[in-house]
Symmetry: D2
Subunit: 340 residues, 4 copies
């Protein structure tokens, strides 16, 4: 191994942290030097997650603070934790990929309403690059701080980007989204207790979800226009996976061709000729998209699927890492989905 | 037992047939005299479905043709089978509840396109009552032939009825619907093989589904207006259950009150203050509805859940039966959901 | 309704309490007068469990203490709670069915080791009737206090009873048991968080489980002999259901006939000719049993399935209730399994 | 890439074939030159399995016969297909790893009874190496034909090997085994239709399963002694994964130490201090083992878990490949389980 980049993970014992470690273990140029945890400090990784037993980093100890000697930090912390830590790391000259929402929305005014805190680092907020490589690749390459997108925004924005880029006139947007339960994190709650969630599904945060302003903010950055969306997140009984359906009133066009053309060079986005299956991206960084123009009603429908912990979180973070470090963007990400 | 009504079930070995038998077993005034099956004739019910072992009708034999001595027939047959059988039964003076789609759509022209057959009994088609009691109760009471609604139409129309009745101006309609796998029937297929369907979800029949003209037809009957909808059926990994989300652009109004008022006398429809869970209606005839007007985007969203084999098929058929026979509408249908 | 028996449920907001209410709602001779809860007192039942919305007892309030006016109390409390409450209720002349383990084991010495408390009511312990009707029916009929069996003991003892009754010489016993997650109760824990339990299965309490001394105690009561068993409880990814496999070294015999003969009058036990499916008893009070003598190795294998919340808890409690009250034993329990 | 070994897969469109392709795509020294299929010939792999879209071999065409130019063939064929093909391939000087059961059992007399065919290549049968590296590593290295073990035998034999090697006196053996549904293959059947298998579990082939003589045959090869086992395979509702519990009457000993010592150099076997979770080996080549001596009853219990498509089939085949080719045994197999 010629090149070895040292990284640490803050908050390694949630699902996105664990998924990052899984991926990093297979990456040829990364050395994971530290993993932090408040709840599990002093324990070995394999004591918290037994499936890491006998793997590369299974014996690594969780610590309260990381070793100083790292090039880049992945932050898998609560939003408030990232908010405060990012400025300190940047000051020390570290690169940062933040998987929280603390630096995703340019408009700082959104934070009190949607995140219940005042955003006090507005300069840094303006410099943060939104880590959706298909849209902001060149910015990511030069970034010191990448705000890694949320899972719903990733699937939604990849479904919208060709339209926004082309300037398609959209009268309104309905975004109806299904998520696996891991999207809600590792903390237990009554409704996600196995006996209750088996064979259940329901919508939640119908009137206010943090990903709504995130999506609208990026739509505006891309298209220059404000567009409000009706966003309905739902959980369905599966561990991981996400499907987003976008509905928009617009003129007829060659949408499939537009999507093909837009994403033809993209290693992780494929346009299908039939609706995609969530399971076909399980454990990967892929996004599969299908679009259909319904001439009866004059509406475009776009369906996209991702793994909420993959392209919706940790593997996208690794894609951003590759770009920031000047590496082949697909390194460590060429998995096939675990199937069946 | 004062009153005992004799019924038979044609096509008793699919999921809707089996669910009907389960419900009929608990009904105080029904005697099931015959159950038919082409594939399993000469077998006892408990040989086909072991869970009927040691139950009331477990030892009943499946036959090719029913005993003549019955008052009403439930038809759980393929559409083409019902098409031909219904006229014969009516001629014999039998009452019929048909769970297929053969007599649901008034406009016979839809059948060649959506059902691949020419509808040759258009007179009977006009007389068939669409068995959605909340909308057509009085017609059901007098009906000789009830066309029992499809599962998607039931959940969708109950979500729309208050708007249609009031005459709310709807610019367009998006209907995004999730179904358990039993909705696709008992016949095995690759994509519903357990290892493939576990942790999967996908949209299907996006461009053409038989329930689209059914819903549009009933909308027109209720409101007098044509309204086309964008309908997207999807399967999610659960055996039974259904959630429909309706999106419509319309003026602000007191929608929750409207829904409460419309359904205040209905024994099987409840208006909730938060999005309903599919699991909360498992095995029942209930429909739970939630509505939310999003002032940011000027859209109304209505979410309804039913059990696709319950209110979406067999228990609704029993509700229609009770009405047709002048019985208490809720007889045999007052179950609590099996939970968890 | 000629007869109306007033009952209350202590600890109504766990899974066994909720299942009891579901069943009681359909029982023709019970009036549920009170439901208690420490955590949810002052709430209506439908606020805790939305699926009770629009059902018979949905609007009943949970209270800290029940109304005094009841004939029998179902106790769905923690073991320690039942331990103290039972003597008080008996003193007041109430009949009691206790679903906890506090009065199941005759040998009080087991309690410190297996339940972490000293059993201080040993007189009552001796009088408590073990509520397995197939074995102790006459005792149950006369009982003032029924200790309702655990789920594993129910499935295991029904699998063993014909052997014990006949006096079959058993060299040793292996009991390997699979349970749905609801058996572990409603309290959330990390390992039963949906994303972790999906597609998982594991053994637990391999070296010490409370149901081991319970089973051994009843074996001794039936057969007069001590027999130690190797008991291995496991969870598999399903909400409810239980399968027990018993392995024993013994002489060849006509076991299937023995089992048929033993249970021929039992309304809730069926002997099958092939291994039973857990799903076939879902939501019911049934127990399905299969036995197979392997001549190659000289071992008998017996497989039994129940619903852990049904025959393994709440519906068995109702069966005991019917017996204690002199009612038809099957009242309110003649459901068919919810299938598929 | 210095070294590139050409392989083909016969019968690539079952689950074991697809899993092999997934793994081979990540292996640094393999070039997959052909994949065959009778049912899907002339199609591209991604047309049969959409999840291969945009992956390394997604555009590879399935053919009836492979290109001649390969070094080793993986056979994922029905038993009868392998039986006839193996001699032909060996004659051409190809190396073969056969994932069927056609060459696993030394005693040819077992085939008529357990496989319904006469074994006509008994010479080859004697030369076939049973591909369980932890037991027969040196033989595998020199093998021309490896009979890749069945999933149940792999989990069972790894649980037994330390005892057999040490010569522990075992009076009898009970093997109780749980499998995910993919173990039954890709062909659809009624009982594995999603709505029926959800929340179900059952035992099957209780009186005769092909893996019984396979396990007994290898036990005899290792220990020199005949030992009959009571083997009970069961399916539980999960796509992939396997847990085997072995029960044996034997003397007390330091079993955990024995297991640790036996497997201390093994890269894919770990001895745990608590019962293992099936999910912790999902998608990997790992086997996790736990053993517990119950002094109350004088029995040893050993629990092992594997992924039935991983260590139980395709990844074990790749481990054997690495050994046969003189490569690092762990190449392409150092994955962490997909979790949660």
């Amino acid at each position: 191994m010629e090149q070895e980049i040292k990284v640490c993970i803050y908050g390694a014992t949630g699902y996105t942290g664990a998924e990052l470690i899984r991926l990093i273990s297979q990456h040829p140029h990364i050395k994971l030097t530290s993993i932090t945890s408040q709840s599990y400090k002093e324990k070995r990784l394999s004591e918290v997650f037994s499936h890491f037993k006998a793997t590369k980093y299974g014996e690594l100890y969780l610590t309260q603070e990381p070793e100083e000697d790292f090039d880049l930090a992945f932050l898998c912390l609560p939003h408030e934790g990232s908010l405060e830590l990012v400025p300190k790391l940047l000051e020390k000259g570290k690169k940062v990929i933040d998987l929280s929402g603390a630096y995703r929305i340019r408009d700082a005014n959104m934070y009190p309403e949607y995140y219940q805190f005042e955003h006090t680092y507005t300069n840094i907020l303006q410099e943060a690059v939104y880590g959706l490589p298909e849209v902001f690749r060149e910015d990511v390459k030069r970034a010191k701080l990448v705000a890694n997108p949320g899972c719903y925004p990733t699937a939604t924005l990849l479904a919208l980007y060709p339209l926004l880029k082309r300037g398609t006139q959209l009268e309104w947007l309905v975004v109806d989204a299904l998520s696996g339960i891991s999207g809600a994190g590792r903390k237990t709650t009554q409704k996600f207790h196995y006996p209750e969630m088996e064979s259940d599904a329901f919508a939640y945060s119908v009137n206010k979800h943090r990903h709504t302003p995130e999506i609208e903010d990026v739509i505006k950055r891309i298209s220059g226009k404000s567009l409000s969306l009706r966003f309905t997140p739902q959980v369905i009984p599966m561990s991981r996976g996400m499907m987003v359906k976008v509905y928009a009133k617009c003129e007829q066009d060659q949408y499939t061709e537009l999507y093909r053309e837009t994403y033809k060079e993209e290693p992780f986005v494929s346009i299908l000729e039939e609706p995609p299956h969530i399971k076909h991206v399980r454990g990967t960084n892929h996004c599969l998209i299908y679009c259909y123009y319904d001439t009866r009603v004059g509406m475009l429908q776009v369906i996209s699927v991702i793994d909420n912990l993959g392209k919706g979180a940790s593997s996208q973070a690794l894609q951003n890492f590759n770009l920031m470090m000047g590496l082949d963007e697909t390194l460590g990400l060429k998995h096939t989905a675990l199937y069946p």
